[in-house]
Symmetry: D2
Subunit: 347 residues, 4 copies
């Protein structure tokens, strides 16, 4: 059986990555590929790395073009997703790679995005451990509307959730600093994304708790911890195209014990197909490039009473498009790993 899928917003980097993964998925058939200003262009002109569909033309993102698909992926600017989503059939599985439906708290949405809250969809992070027991995976089966997590959010959440759920971390003292690649900033023209500005340089941005991924991080970690979590998050742009290397540090709770922590993580993640818990090595973004994998390492700094959980993902795969496919698999009742079990491209 094959599902017919559409990609709305196929001209950007997330759209391109969805196309790459759809082509590799044994149970998917590519239907409409849509865009806004790029409608009419060929995929080959925008994504020359996908020769199999180079001659396909982008059509306009509208109700008619997106109708008649089993699955629609939205890879659109925020606020636009919500508009397009309204036009889609209830029986279609829709996965939004944007932010519109991630947050549950309308005031958090409005504070960070400045537009009215569009609603909340089922959150597409299967591996998220929940304070109430179980993982988010159980909630995705048969869903028709899925909000795909933010890339930085995934790097932090998967790194800290098990320790929080186990009560081993203090949820009020979390500091996360991430080295992130440029593709996460999208394909729009901005002067500080010019290669001349990025090559040979590192720079922080969204400094001081203002990055839009912060409330989503706290929403997740609060679900994992069962009590309110807060996060100090700072991203640093570095000269890599893909990848997030997250250094997540958290003060340990009173009852902390490092051996227990390691068991907790093994218990949470040893059966997860996309999570590698490293013991003798440290994560690198190169080791996950192009794959849906997450690398995680644990270290305890007794001297400061902090655990340092380092995690690495490919922002366009496990950070977005791969996570979307993984949630789609679950929502459709396919094998969760279908079309996603390949190694990274390294070096």
């Amino acid at each position: 059986m094959s599902y017919r899928v559409a990609v709305a917003g196929a001209s950007g980097y997330v759209g391109g990555e969805l196309l790459r993964l759809i082509l590799q998925h044994p149970e998917l058939e590519l239907g409409a590929v849509t865009a806004n200003t790029n409608a009419g262009q060929s995929l080959g002109s925008l994504h020359p790395h996908l020769p199999a569909i180079a001659d396909r033309l982008l059509v306009e993102t509208n109700e008619a073009n997106l109708a008649g698909h089993d699955v629609v992926f939205l890879a659109l600017p925020h606020a636009t997703s919500a508009e397009v989503a309204k036009t889609l059939s209830d029986s279609t599985l829709v996965l939004d790679c944007g932010a519109d439906f991630r947050l549950e708290d309308p005031s958090a949405w409005e504070k960070f995005y400045g537009t009215p809250h569009a609603g909340t969809w089922t959150y597409g992070m299967p591996e998220l451990t929940l304070a109430e027991g179980g993982k988010q995976r159980g909630r995705l089966r048969d869903q028709k509307r899925v909000a795909v997590p933010g890339c930085n959010v995934t790097a932090l959440t998967l790194a800290l959730a098990p320790g929080l759920t186990a009560g081993l971390f203090d949820p009020t003292d979390i500091v996360s600093v991430m080295s992130v690649g440029t593709s996460g900033a999208g394909r729009a023209l901005k002067s500080d994304l010019l290669a001349s500005e990025v090559l040979g340089s590192a720079r922080a941005y969204g400094v001081g708790g203002v990055h839009r991924h912060t409330p989503e991080m706290e929403q997740n970690l609060t679900k994992a911890a069962g009590v309110r979590a807060s996060v100090s998050f700072t991203p640093v742009l570095v000269p890599i195209s893909r990848g997030i290397l997250a250094v997540n540090t958290v003060r340990v709770a009173d009852k902390f014990d490092f051996e227990t922590l390691k068991l907790v993580y093994q218990d949470a993640y040893s059966d997860e197909p996309f999570i590698q818990l490293l013991s003798d090595q440290l994560p690198t973004t190169a080791a996950v490039l192009g794959s849906n994998n997450v690398q995680i390492s644990l270290a305890f700094d007794q001297h400061t009473g902090r655990v340092v959980v380092v995690s690495a993902i490919d922002n366009l795969v496990k950070g977005t498009a791969g996570a979307a496919i993984q949630s789609m698999n679950l929502a459709l009742g396919l094998a969760e790993t279908s079309g996603l079990m390949f190694g990274a491209v390294a070096p």
Copy 2:
């Protein structure tokens, strides 16, 4: 049906890439993975990007460990391949990713490598057009010994062969300058391959006709042209890990016509599954990264009477490991594209 394959020299970059591709191939089962100084280590410690086989241990490269496989890939230093090859059964398909069996002319081998010539195996470049008619593909079926081409050689040969076979190029006036990534230099420790030396820098090497790929280039182009070809080749190391961007220029023959040339290339390559002939775009290494694809563009500079054929490949895939799998597919009678039809990882 599944073929059991071994990789000899699995600790290096070519070895790692063979493993990645073998894992994605539907008709292969991984047998022994061998190394020399790294024997005893886990694949996870050397290739952390391949979690599916992280716990597999490298065994020593010797006759016993390599016996009992349908296919053996050799990813060994030159001269070592020839030694190991002697120990392998005649009924085993052996593909050498090194240089030992590529050259037909013993004196060329000795001049460039300084050791006795080990022999010549069937050359694993299916798309190579031959002056005598047909392509090299026809010679690979049922072979048991295949010499996988050099990476730079592939980038040049596929770029110029059709025009030479058609008699539209002067085979005695070819200049090729390539921007090449660092993985082509392998994993050995050399001070000029330190990141501090490579980042932000470009440097030529092997300047003045001394690069070892030169005689192999000329061997191929001579077969394509039917008359003796000579090549001025200069590689330039640039700060990318993978990829070859080749600028191949050639003086046109007297009877040259650019429209004819374009037809010749379309005729030669439009049905090739791994070759993209670009008309409105120019090749980039990013657009082939991680894939077995080749991008080629043609331009005619009337003013100097030279054609400039730009080509791009991933040196570890179409340049080595992917080419090895492709030739293996042909030699085994599988579909030539089996396990190799995936897009590149971009951006």
Copy 3:
């Protein structure tokens, strides 16, 4: 004695580099810094690497603001330079870093730039050897209008001129392929200059003899050779911000002898303060980064009858702003090296 200098077009990369060099020059005092759309902004917002002048404001590029300076550097888009130049006093030394006044042949200008030819100024390449004897240096003294050479042009010209002047090269068979950094493309927003497109990738552009630097290259080499020279030139964009690594190959003339060639280059360049003739090493862009130096190496490939001259420059220093200061020094009668004798920043 101190000269008061203005920079017109100070918001771009060439403008920024002129400012950096002016601040280091012992005999210059910075006057007006002008821009077009960025007028009113502080230099600190555009060039945060120059804290000494962070609070200076950009003023509009107009006659009044540029009046009253001893020296005016133009770092403007082509055609704009010519417009602004008209408004400047004859007694002011004007150096144009753009293309407007480089070409002597109006038809070449019109073919490559598509606008009317503005005229020709004294060419600012002191080290250029001339077929008629001497070097270009001798023509710069006391000049009031200087055309600063194109960056790629400098990398090629200095590499080949002495051999052409000596009659050792065939001026009709020159092939040059350069690995170039992104800053040479300027600060304007273009999608193919986004970091995500450039990182990890190499791509050729201006392929097939259409790059605008071609006629300037041929003009120079014709002056060096004394007979008409033609050049096949292809630039390749690589992930470095600064630098040009040029692989320049040329067929040798009948009377060629490699030992003679080396003597010719030593004779031409051993006293040049900014040219390093390497014998045991090869040029790298890292080794000239931030400096006004040129590295040049010679190799002879007897087998193809071609000499390969590799050269490296920093496109923003010896390729533009440094060359401008050097010519200014000569035109003002200062020491040619004043303000320019510093090493490169490596690694």
Copy 4:
């Protein structure tokens, strides 16, 4: 007046940077340049970016060769510095760029370095604010033995010291994560510093409080705060050759007020010649490359009660060689800025 200076350990990256800065210093004359295994080689072979001294030969690092200089810079592996230092005259100014003489607490030294403590020299960080009043600058005048700070240490210390001295930060809750370039790891051959491993990748190292710079960081911040400070520090290697981008976060003290903090930093740093306090921009490593400058920005995240101080330095200049020259200037009674007032090389 000119001082004669020697560089012991001139073959590495710090040694090379010292040479570059010495050549630009108006009051220095280069004497002996020494090395261990590289003795006998020319500087040109090791530092081709410094053509002015390309023909100088490295001599052995020994007492005789280092005698007779006014100033000796040590750029040696730790433990070696202490050995060499014993052989130098008391009247010679000696500046150690290594770690041997930085720590005051012998047990901290032994814990992190595993060798006997060699002693403590005057700490070469002029801008360090002290809880007891004043800055470290006052202690450097006329000193003969100076310990140059560690590069990461400088990036953290200058970022947080004024707020700690003012009592506005909690010295027990400091988390610092730095993106660091590869040159900080030196020129020794290590497989994880190969360009193929570094390009396109980010990876943390020294995770969990084990990095050797940690005790030096805490020593400095304790002096700034007047009470014991502790630091959770994690470095991340990113694909840049030079530069440190430090994200330093600290919980605010009870009496904290952000406006007060900004005034405290202005008071501490507005007259510092090498520190730029940014208000509308954020630091980048590109903006300090090649310069002795430090960029610092302040942000307050009220939501988590943490201040985020971002700082950027060039690890080889302000992080090592530039700091050494600056301390030398002070120790010799020269202008502190002599030979160091130049802008960065950007883009």
